[in-house]
Amino acid sequence: MSRRIELAFARAAKAKRAAFIPYITAGDPNPTATLGLCRALERAGADLIELGVPFSDPIADGPTNQRAAERALAAGTTLSGVLQIVRELRYTSELPVVLFTYFNPVHAYGLARFAVDAAAAGVDGVLFTDVPVEEARGPYEAFRRVGIDLVLLVAPTSTRPRVKATKKLAGGFVYFVSRTGVTGARERVEEGLEAQVRAVRKLTGRRVAVGFGISTPEQVNRVAGFADGVVVGSAIVGRIAEIGDRVNLVGEIEAFARSLAMATRRR
């Protein structure tokens, strides 16, 4: 298990809050901006960062993240470029990094070579949006050798046997998809989420981070009451899109992220 991920969750738990996990698409609005944004998120109180690897056909993503991937690809972002960003971040930071990626870019890079290069760059975990547990054996083996956590998704539609099956392969935490659908900001947090999160924690014996559709400090605070980590993606990505490649980008994202990070404290 990745030490940095373990420490991040332990530290958050000790401070009586859920871990704050912001998501941004690497390379949006351009590869140079991403490093500055990561540092800003860390200053704002991120415990762990999810870095999206842009893909041409993001079937699990809503419009906000699709556009971000398009901008990142247009700006020339590649998987090796993303690893380079992590490498540079590691010069000054111990912030755990989980790559959030579709399988094909990794497949094209070569799974074994990717595992070695990602570990060397300082990646702590990898989450595949389109690799369910049945197909995860190969990545699990490749990552285990180099000490990278495989982060598996659990959905509201996942059956009990499926949730149990993640236990064998899951790394430090599992990612619970808070609603059936694609990524994107939503008005409400689903009813019954708390019970689902508790059930997943019990069945997998892992910490549970919750994401998909969480976009405001109020929603973060509600979910933080019962989850071990809260992921906010599209809401941040949407702001990045609004501001674009301007001087105030880093400052504004930091301020927004801080308001989310503060909300992770349990009442």
Partner: protein, 397 residues
């Protein structure tokens, strides 16, 4: 040998299920429903009845006498899927899946479409069974297949234009998958080809296998023996899988799948996955994918919207690797020539997709002996393409 795919949905190294976790339970549910339906005599009987009384099966096998003479070689037979209700083989699968959707208690179906044939077939079957229907279609395809867009609307379907990426079939599938992930409880996704996550490649193949089963009997009866060569165009590959399936066990029968060679050999100029692609994962299945060195899926080009797709069914990938089927490419211009040739010699206007298969036959027929049989799957008719062909040739209608 055990039948493929294996229980994880693999055809050798190809296939599988690469989808978001949210879709896994629905796929398991679909697989169970399909396995139970295919063994259920009532379901089979109902499907067979619909194929006969609604879709117009069996479709005839036509001997193309003038075409055969013109090509100066083998005897060319056409399996007339263009005579199916709605004008292409797509209805076989759409009726099958909508019947299954009803059995599963789904009230809504969604589909993607490229040329519009699968969209029209799904809209038709949805109307037949009283299911709500939404069809996703790239805006580039909506432009070149405007007639089919209107047909779908006439049939009561909602057509949603997809303006992302290459604005073609690939992007329509992305959007259909996103819809499905959001509405899994009420919705069945009627995937139109032997693509996508398990069980789709196997299930669609099985619904289309009626083509090959009929053709095998018909060619034996009308030609007196097995054909030397069977040819079909390959987009996702459902019409090809449908006709090849019956002939795969007969090693003496040569099988050829024809891909879209487009306007050139550069990445983005064609949809020839086997000569320009590499193994990868797209839309839930591991197969040959046209992509750049960073694993980003490439754009494609073909005059035919139905072949304009960067991946191919996983069973085709296996047939390619074990050399049971040969895959070749035919350019836009060659396909257009064949489109005219069949119209003038046989009085049949083929779909531009199908014209690719015919173009290949015009190239190779001379290599075969006079008595040899060549079987072509005439997968669809060309009414939908008349406007686009006129536009390409500068004819104002």
């Amino acid at each position: 040998m055990k039948p493929l795919p294996d229980d994880r949905g693999y055809f050798g190294p190809y296939g599988g299920r690469f989808v978001p976790e949210t879709l896994m339970a629905p796929l398991e549910e679909l697989e169970r429903a399909w396995q139970s339906a295919r063994r259920d005599r009532t379901f089979r009987r109902e499907l067979d009845t619909l194929l006969a009384t609604y879709c117009g099966r069996p479709t005839p096998l036509s001997f193309a006498a003038r075409l055969s003479d013109n090509l100066g070689g083998a005897r060319v037979f056409l399996k007339r899927e263009d005579l199916c209700h709605t004008g292409a083989h797509k209805i076989n699968n759409a009726v099958g899946q909508c019947l299954l959707a009803r059995r599963m208690g789904k009230v809504r179906v969604i589909a993607e479409t490229g040329a519009g044939q699968h969209g029209v077939a799904t809209a038709t079957a949805a109307a037949l069974f009283g299911l709500r229907c939404r069809v996703y279609m790239g805006t580039e395809d909506e432009r070149r297949q405007a007639l089919n867009v209107y047909r779908m609307k006439l049939l009561g379907a909602e057509v949603v234009g997809v303006d992302a990426g290459t604005k073609t079939l690939k992007d329509a599938i992305n959007e259909a998958l996103r819809d499905w992930v959001t509405n899994v409880a009420t919705t069945h996704y009627v995937l139109g080809s032997v693509l996508g996550p398990h069980p789709y490649p196997a299930m669609v193949r099985d619904f289309q296998s009626v083509i090959g089963a009929e053709a095998l009997l018909q060619v034996r009866r009308q030609h007196g023996s097995l054909p030397r060569l069977v040819v079909a165009c390959v987009g996702g590959g459902s019409n090809a899988a449908g006709i090849f399936g019956a002939f795969v066990p007969y090693k003496q029968v040569e099988l050829v799948g024809v891909e879209a060679g487009g306007r050139g050999t550069g990445l983005g100029d064609h949809a020839a996955r086997f000569s320009g692609g590499a193994p990868g994962v797209l839309h839930g299945t591991r197969t040959y994918v046209l992509q750049d060195q960073n694993g980003q899926v490439a754009g494609t080009h073909s005059v035919s919207a139905g072949l304009d797709y960067p991946a191919v069914g996983p069973e085709h990938a296996l047939w390619h690797d074990n050399r049971r089927v040969g895959y070749v490419r035919v350019s836009d211009d060659e396909a257009l020539d064949a489109f005219h040739l069949l119209a003038e010699l046989e009085g049949i206007v083929p779909a531009l997709e199908t014209a690719h298969a015919l173009a290949f036959v015009t190239h190779v027929a001379r290599r075969y002996a006079k008595g040899d049989g060549i079987l072509v799957n005439l997968s669809g008719r060309g009414d939908k393409d008349v406007n686009e062909v006129a536009r390409l040739e500068g004819v104002r209608l």
